[in-house]
């Protein structure tokens, strides 16, 4: 009952302060940024230049027929490309012939431009620029670093493709290109591709690009911030002598610390919901989500209390707390780059925090993992609370 009364009092005091609402304003700003600047789907529009050393009708036929089932080309506005004087050397890998080209003029090309749209998604996936000469293609390739291809008629009347490489590609990539471009291998490759059985792995149970940022926003913005906020609350109480007054009541140190933590949990939960509901809609399991958000904030607060308990002056603890926050953010790297997941990162508390929040947002969360992570967070939080209480008993009221 004392804990509840103290919590209500702390909430009342916090709600009369500027910072309480600043957290919600910050959450709203973060939400606007996520909605406006983080696309739901990332589409990489590749840019390619092509020179067709064949009659125009051939090019038109290519544009009409190529990839007809999977997409379509649409004419776009011409693209201006400025070319500077340049000396260019290139080699023909098939013949070993060396070509040296020297261009002394400056000019602006207006390249015929086509957009390629995916038939299934309607997304603009590629932009194709057409040059009118081999020289222009080489100069454009050097200037813009676009994939560049020459299409010409072979000896037997078949179309031949030549790709311009920049020399920086890996040997493996060059070999792969050679194999694919070699017309002798084409039937075998086509056959092999046709024989492949493609199975989509769990594409239903993933977060889109925008949604995938939510665990980071919740754990780092709302969770770890609690570490600093709870110490800020204690510092204010200590400097105003309020903790001395509290120390001379029957209220336990634990209740006092928990009441502060509960205020942070309240603001963290509201901030997290402000960000999450508009982005995720009804997809998440909100029961699990609320549980995880509360435990993430609780564990962060307990860690903050524990770290600060080693300092006689709470204000001087802030520098170390910020350092800990930065270290605890390392699992965000693993979250963004899953291939980078060393053991020491997976052992940090923020790793299961991020994974647990992510699970709660998925259409089909792994409830077992989430509950296991929650259990771990409860145990570790309780341990740090006990430890902090023990340490603060001696020093909080002094």
């Amino acid at each position: 009952m004392k804990l509840w009364n103290n919590y209500l009092k702390e909430l009342k005091i916090a709600s009369r302060g500027f910072y309480f609402y600043m957290e919600f304003v910050m959450a709203a700003i973060l939400l606007v940024c996520i909605l406006l600047f983080v696309p739901a789907e990332i589409i990489n529009v590749s840019q390619e230049a092509i020179y067709v050393d064949m009659p125009r009708e051939t090019l038109d036929a290519m544009l009409q027929q190529s990839f007809g089932e999977t997409g379509r080309y649409e004419r776009a506005e011409d693209t201006k490309v400025k070319l500077s004087p340049a000396d260019i050397v290139y080699y023909d890998e098939q013949t070993g012939e060396k070509f040296e080209m020297s261009f002394s003029d400056k000019k602006t090309l207006e390249l015929e431009t086509w957009y390629y749209y995916n038939a299934a998604t309607g997304a603009h996936e590629k932009t194709l620029y057409i040059t009118e000469s081999m020289d222009d293609l080489v100069r454009v390739a050097k200037a813009e670093k676009w994939y560049s291809t020459v299409v010409q008629a072979g000896e037997n009347g078949q179309m031949q493709y030549k790709l311009l490489l920049f020399g920086s590609e890996s040997e493996r990539y060059q070999n792969l290109i050679s194999a694919v471009m070699d017309t002798e291998n084409l039937p075998a490759l086509t056959q092999a591709a046709d024989d492949l059985e493609v199975v989509a792995l769990g594409t239903e149970n993933v977060l889109n690009n925008r949604e995938s940022y939510m665990p980071l926003a919740i754990v780092i913005m709302n969770g770890l911030m609690g570490m600093l906020v709870v110490i800020a609350y204690l510092t204010i109480d200590k400097s105003s002598g309020l903790i001395r007054a509290m120390s001379l009541t029957p209220m336990h140190t634990r209740s006092y610390l928990l009441s502060k933590v509960m205020v942070v949990l309240t603001t963290s939960l509201i901030s997290s919901l402000i960000i999450t509901v508009p982005v995720m809609g009804v997809q998440p399991n909100y029961l699990l989500f609320v549980l995880v958000v509360l435990l993430v904030a609780a564990l962060s607060c307990m860690l903050g209390l524990w770290i600060a308990s080693f300092f006689s002056d709470l204000k001087s603890a802030f520098g170390v707390l910020i350092l800990f926050m930065v270290i605890l953010m390392f699992p965000a790297l693993t979250y963004i780059i899953p291939s980078f997941s060393p053991l020491w990162i997976r052992l940090m508390p923020t790793y299961p925090m991020l994974q647990a929040v992510k699970e709660t947002l998925l259409p089909s969360p792994d409830t077992g993992y989430v509950l296991l992570a929650c259990g771990g967070m409860i145990v570790v939080s309780a341990l740090f609370l006990w430890w902090s209480e023990h340490r603060y008993k001696k020093s909080l009221g002094v």
Binding site: N6, K9, K12, I13, G241, L248, P250, M251
Partner: protein, 290 residues
Amino acid sequence: MIHVNNLSYSYTRDGRFAVKDISFDIKKGEIFGFLGPSGAGKSTTQGILTGLLQLQKGDAVVDGYDLHRENKKRFNRIGMSFEQSNLYGKLTAEENLRYYAKLFDVPTRDPRQLIDMVGLGGKENMKAGAFSKGMKHRLTFARSLLNNPSMWFLDEPTTGLDPAIAAQIKDIIRKECDTGVTAFLTTHNMFIADELCDRVAFIVDGEIKLVDSPKALKLQYGHRTVAVEFKEDGDVKKENLAPATGEGKARLNQIINDCEIVTMHSREASLEEIFIKVTGKGLTADETVE
């Protein structure tokens, strides 16, 4: 009510003690003054007895609770009026007291009645942050009575108050102690100690120099003096004479017989004068918490 035996305390734990091997007893219903200059060890002793500081060396029993054993329940019987006001500035005067009252496990007094008692009636709904220093001090004083304490710690209870309010506070202290409340009063103000305390302890450099009632101390160490202002050879002169001594008595008689008396007042030795006489040290106006 309080039993202290061989109490010592060091902030640095390096053999330098803020309080050195002090012992004293306080009876129930007594107002006990702990007097000394800044840094003498008053606040340290009070900190140990209230529980703000941990007991390091020696024994202390407060209201039946041995301070070697931690027991939060004892705070139901303790009241503490801090010298530095510590209130929630964003809460009103009444909210401050109502919230604090909820922290106790015992029946508490009506916050409005306490607010009226310290002369803040009509200011219940004003935020404590908007109070003057004196008003905050009175609210902190009122808060210390919320739980009907049997052991009441008062740290400079009239500091910063105007004389009228200070008199009101002293009156409250007397009335509360008349009902059986024991008060432990730390101050460097000898006048309030003289007026209120049943017994006083003089503490200097962490050591108690003596413990006795103000009256007994005056009898033992003070001399009644007469301050006389008179005209002699056309000039107005002033002298302080001790009529209890033969020399003083003779000089006083001589002045009365031979000179024109302008003013004459009898005067007792003050507690401050006795403190200086006993300890060899004066009291400073400023008080800081160790």
